[in-house]
Symmetry: C2
Subunit: 431 residues, 2 copies
């Protein structure tokens, strides 16, 4: 199926597409050189929004689910990339332990786990799935809608190593974003590779740190391309120590929403954009579509206050969020079958391996789509993955558009690499 896209086929985004295509060798070389100095996250997915006049990542997930949304055509690329990733980390590996989220009743999520298992099995590893869910006390097999099944085994913690019964892995791959904090069972594992590292967990990460790193790499790529980095970078502000449930921090929020809206308005004016600027307010430690509020005016905040409070206080398993990220809202101009759509780019090691459109029939162009009710359509990516077609006019070629999405996805992944280096508690500091 080739998705029907409705994208703004004129204006700056086509200029950007053209620049990206023209600079392909320079871009690829730049990434190659970056990866000599920095380690890519093991895997990642990036939500991208295409406003027609700008293109920007809005979330970078270091424990991606949704692998089941990738088409069979994308599987060989994912396997090849997984082989490259494993080879670098633990070439002598025989065994990989995959630790999933604790939603053991969610067969949609478990279909993604089954797909990851397939990818790493095909890359040549014995894969077992070890659950850290306290509810999984014995080996539990869950049947999936497609006839497959997933067997969850309770993890067994030794003094220094983690495994499941009769299975001692070289590498432990987390597909659990640790949003409720790092459980003790995962701490002090020094003999095995634990990936991604614990400080990549949602409870530890700060999205403001990520987007600060992103801003830095976006400026450099912008310079390389000769474009205003704003065209690929969402502006943001931050409020620390807010306790919205108690009303603490509303003033900071109001001031920063106002300041950010003013900045965006100025940019819109510069580019002659007629849309109404907006910002999104979310917990700085990331949420899975929970507690993301769209604000079009600082005055709206007061009215929204109660809603914000109740929503925000629902994040992090009920605890009040402390830091607040106020991010430039990026419209999505993409539509599929009349539903608002945003591309999600999947990467394994340094490679783009696929993607899909997240669509949501009940949401607006300025709303978060990663919410209950969303569905997924494979990108037209399907066959030609991230391969551009030089010589085709901007906006007319799906592969060229997806090449650009892949560049922005990789840029966010690079930012995540910088972020994880900067926040590594075990990093050696050279003074």
């Amino acid at each position: 199926m080739v998705p029907h896209l409705v994208t703004a086929l004129t204006g700056p985004i086509n200029e950007l597409e053209q620049r990206v295509l023209d600079s392909m060798p320079a871009i690829e070389r730049w990434f190659r050189l970056e990866w000599m100095e920095h380690t890519p996250p093991f895997y990642s997915s990036v939500d991208v929004r295409n406003a027609g006049f700008k293109l920007a990542p809005v979330d970078t997930n270091l424990f991606p689910g949704g692998w089941n949304n990738l088409t069979p055509e994308m599987l060989p690329l994912a396997v090849q990339a997984a082989m490259a990733a494993i080879e670098k980390i633990c070439p002598e590996a025989r065994n990989l332990l995959l630790i999933p989220e604790n939603h053991s009743g969610n067969t949609f999520y478990l279909s993604s786990v089954a797909q990851l298992r397939r990818i790493f099995h095909m890359a040549g590893l014995n894969v077992r799935i070890g659950s850290i869910d306290p509810a999984i006390k014995k080996t539990t097999t869950v049947e999936l809608p497609n006839g497959e099944s997933v067997t969850l085994e309770p993890v067994i913690r030794g003094k220094r190593r983690l495994g499941v019964k009769d299975f001692d892995p070289c590498t432990i791959l987390l597909n659990n974003d640790l949003r409720a904090g790092v459980p003790g069972i995962l701490e002090d594992i020094h003999e095995q590779y634990l990936l991604p590292p614990l400080h990549a967990g949602r409870s530890t990460r700060r999205m403001s740190k990520h987007f600060k790193c992103y801003e830095e790499v976006a400026k450099r790529l912008g310079k390389l391309l000769g474009v205003d980095p704003w065209l690929i970078n969402p502006l943001f502000e931050k409020c620390g120590e807010a306790k919205l449930a108690e009303g603490v921090g509303m003033e900071c929020l109001s001031t920063n929403v106002d300041a950010l809206l003013t900045k965006i308005r100025r940019k819109y004016k510069e580019y002659g954009i007629k849309e109404k600027p907006f910002v999104v307010v979310k917990a700085d430690n990331g949420t899975h579509g929970m507690g993301i509020v769209t604000v079009r005016d600082a005055k709206d905040l007061e009215a929204l206050s109660l809603k914000v409070q109740s929503k925000m206080s629902g994040t992090r398993d009920g605890q009040p969020a402390c830091d607040i990220l106020i991010q430039e809202g990026v419209l999505t101009k993409e539509r599929m079958h009349d539903a608002v759509a945003e591309p999600v780019v999947y990467m394994m090691d340094r490679y783009v391996v696929g993607g899909f459109y997240r669509i949501h029939a009940d949401r607006g162009v300025d709303e978060n789509l990663d919410a209950p009710g969303s569905s997924f359509v494979p990108l037209a990516f399907e066959q030609s993955a991230r391969l551009p077609q030089p010589g085709i006019k901007p906006g007319a070629s799906a592969p060229n558009r997806f090449y650009m999405y892949g560049v922005v996805g990789r840029l966010a992944m690079l930012a995540a690499s910088y972020e994880l280096e900067a926040t590594d508690p075990n990093a050696e500091v050279y003074e």
Copy 2:
């Protein structure tokens, strides 16, 4: 198009397929460990013959043409592998110079060159095509049947570097098998990466050395799989210093053909194979389908002598071949639309990136198919590349069959890696 295959769906080959599938993690780990010690050839293609009872490589090409036979679906895999290859060799590379064969009038071959150019361009390099053909004295553009064109530029040799006008490459990629010897213009290049190395050229390589290395790795893989290595290894003998055009070496040839046929007969008996054994006689320095003679009995040699003489003397641009390889003939049981077919596996760096069937309507099951009149059909590889489907019964799954082909292809590539190390004139010798 999904090729119609007629393969022997019973007998040892299915046992082999099953063992290969069951041992997938062990096989992949073994390759990973091998690639820690050995460098894969930059790219390669391997002709594989499936006799129903055995599966073996019959030629390993280190300057593969035919990239245009790969389907668009295989392109992303080739690009991803090319990115990995370039990254290892010359991550700071901007420019790649591709040196093609001297058949500048052969648009079929030039379509393959255009495909290679596309792969490396998509991997992020500026690619130019530099000809070492003395006939190319100025920039020459050749139109291809599909509407593309290829521009051949005469190479310019500096004191220490090679390039074309206004283009100084980091890496020079040879797609010219140097069968007529190494031209002076390629010698003494020490500042640039010249790949594959000159001693991989057809005039320098000896196929007997390759198959000696292959025998070694086949024994080790056979042990890993718990199978007789003969099931994946073609036996061979060698006659040195033969000058068939002058009748010198016919006795050696006769003795060795007889000895080899006896060995094969013994193996056939052991496995209850009813086919008539045969051997192929070819120049040890390889040929592109020239001078390959099928011999079913040493007595036939006398009768074939004249034919052999005239054929063999035609190799190496008219010079008489010196060393003769006598190789166990491997039937091909595969058919496509009634034509005899053999799979060809394509690799870039350590990855299988695609393949196709070489078919020849006018040739027999025991004849060489790499000859004028052959044509090409993409492997059913198409979508799922080398990804096996565990749990499907042997012989019933094209992806599983192709995974096995990919294993044998990579085994031959590994042998080429050993071969190039052993024959490297610049190797450091540790005593």
